[in-house]
Amino acid sequence: MLSLTVLSLLILVFMAVGLYSKSADILKENSVWTLLTSSAWSPFNGQFGFWSFIVSSIYVTLLSLIIALPISLLTALFLTEKAKPWIKKAVFPVLDILAGIPSVVYGLWGILIIVPWIANSLGPHFVDYTSGYTLLAGGIVLSVMIIPLLVSLFVEIFSTVPSEIKDASASLGATPWQTSRKVVVRKALPGIIASTVLAVSKAFGETLAVLMVCGNMVEIPRSLFDSAYPLPALIANNYGEMLSLPKYESALMFAALVMFVIILIFNTVARIVLHKVEEKFTL
């Protein structure tokens, strides 16, 4: 067990070191700060500013979470607290299937359904013109991808909330909805956070689907109807193709390193929050 743990830690370290040494080229000429905060992107002129990619990545992930969290929570609450057993039995296999569908299929679905819908129906209400290949499309497709994961995790967590607690709440005159909101969700909060971390990591690293629907224009998205260019899409789009350009490979390695570090920071923060929450509510 211990050796396995050490091994997985070592893999982590090797990855970090590998990415870092590969991006050394670009780090020699630019400060980390400029690379991160500049949005000037012009590989032909040797300008590599990653800010718009970082922002795109964060926006699209956040957006997917904002869409997916409430839907998943309500669905999971419904399934555990209200739904008849046969509904549960019918839904779980569907969730598993949805979770197993390759992301390229989600991307195609986004191109065929979501992108035109945004371009033709939703967009015109808000902006003069949008191609449909937008931040919003990325957020929606990503949320649809993580909802099955979140729902099945949440259902599992909610079913571990002891019925005695729900009974106690009901005995005090709480409606089932109040009980769900104030007791079930609260009791499950550490689990909810942990699952959300998992979903965020998945959404943040998801490549193909966002690449297909986000538009991939190098600009900082100013609204939901602007196109976005998340980091994984940048790497996948360009790796192997434009490596003849000087420094380009190194720049893409740096992009990967940035993702790696963001996920690391995010996980660490989430762990701290989780710890605080557990301390506050349960033990």
Binding site: P162, S163, E164, I165, K166, D167, A168, S169, A170, S171, L172, G173, A174, T175, Q178, K182, V183, R186, K187, K280, F281, T282, L283
Partner: protein, 268 residues
């Protein structure tokens, strides 16, 4: 323990109809294919302590759960017959269930703190019923924690999770929590089972005081406890009520052979 009768903090849900009665008529409860309560008939008088006694598994908890309709959430349950609160049948009536639980509070057999602080546990029911005023809530919480003899132990850590309390403390907390919504009837399922003799006596004294304002129906396995505080005694066996009546009659002159055996300890 300071329980002043006239002092009722934040009394919002005025307890209607003094002299209310809870009456169980021809009650039968089945869970799946098990006949758990068999033709139960019972009158539970207002402002009295009624003790339900009987061997383990005879249906005491089920009876209490049926009275505040917690039984509804059990899968495969069927309830026939009626439970009348102030002459209104509470079985099978759809939406009144919330109001009903406001009037009939259940303290469960296993203490079960909600996943929140000590303060929030006691304030939970009041908040549900619309009391938002922070000062009022503080008053209510202190009042009922004092009533159950827990205030001195927890007053300096009201904001810590209730789950950290000892089991006995949790049991008193749950009692305080139920009292705080000020129901007419308190159904207490072995409310002292996890308490040491002193705390247990304190809770008994509390119940005796409480019956000025509340009607108390308590399940107990301690015959001595029943003898000390019961006005009425109900003896159950295998889902049936074998004998019920004023405490002194049951204890001094039980009619039924089973009751005699149970009281003499032959069951153990």
């Amino acid at each position: 323990m300071s329980l002043k009768k006239s002092f009722r903090p934040g009394y919002k849900f005025v307890r209607q109809s003094e002299g209310a009665e809870l009456e169980v008529r021809n009650l039968n409860v089945h869970i799946k294919n098990n006949h758990i309560l068999k033709n139960v008939n019972l009158v539970l008088p207002d402002k009295k302590i009624t003790c339900i006694i009987g061997p383990s598994g005879c249906g005491k908890t089920t009876l209490l759960k049926t009275m505040n309709r917690l039984i509804d959430s059990v899968e495969g349950v069927r309830i026939d017959g009626g439970i009348l609160l102030n002459n209104e049948n509470i079985v099978g009536s759809g939406e009144k269930i919330i109001n009903l639980r406001r009037k009939i509070g259940l303290v469960s057999q296993k203490p079960c703190p909600l996943p929140m602080s000590i303060f929030d546990n006691v304030a939970y029911g009041c908040r549900i019923h619309g009391i938002r005023n922070r000062r009022k809530l503080r008053m209510i919480v202190q009042y009922y924690l004092e009533a159950v003899g827990l205030w001195d132990e927890v007053s300096n850590r009201l904001n810590t999770p209730a789950a950290r309390l000892s089991v006995g403390q949790q049991q008193r907390l749950c009692l305080a929590r139920s009292l705080a919504v000020e129901p007419q009837f308190i159904l207490a399922d072995e409310a002292t089972s996890a308490l040491d003799p002193i705390s247990s006596r304190n809770v008994e004294e509390l119940f005796v005081k409480l019956k000025q304002d509340y009607s108390i129906i308590m399940v107990t396995h301690t015959l001595h406890q029943a003898k000390r505080i019961a006005d009425h005694v109900v003896f159950m066996y295998l889902g049936e009520i074998i004998e019920a009546g004023p405490a002194n009659e049951i204890f001094t002159n039980p009619q039924h052979q089973l009751t005699k055996e149970y009281l003499s300890g032959a069951f153990n």
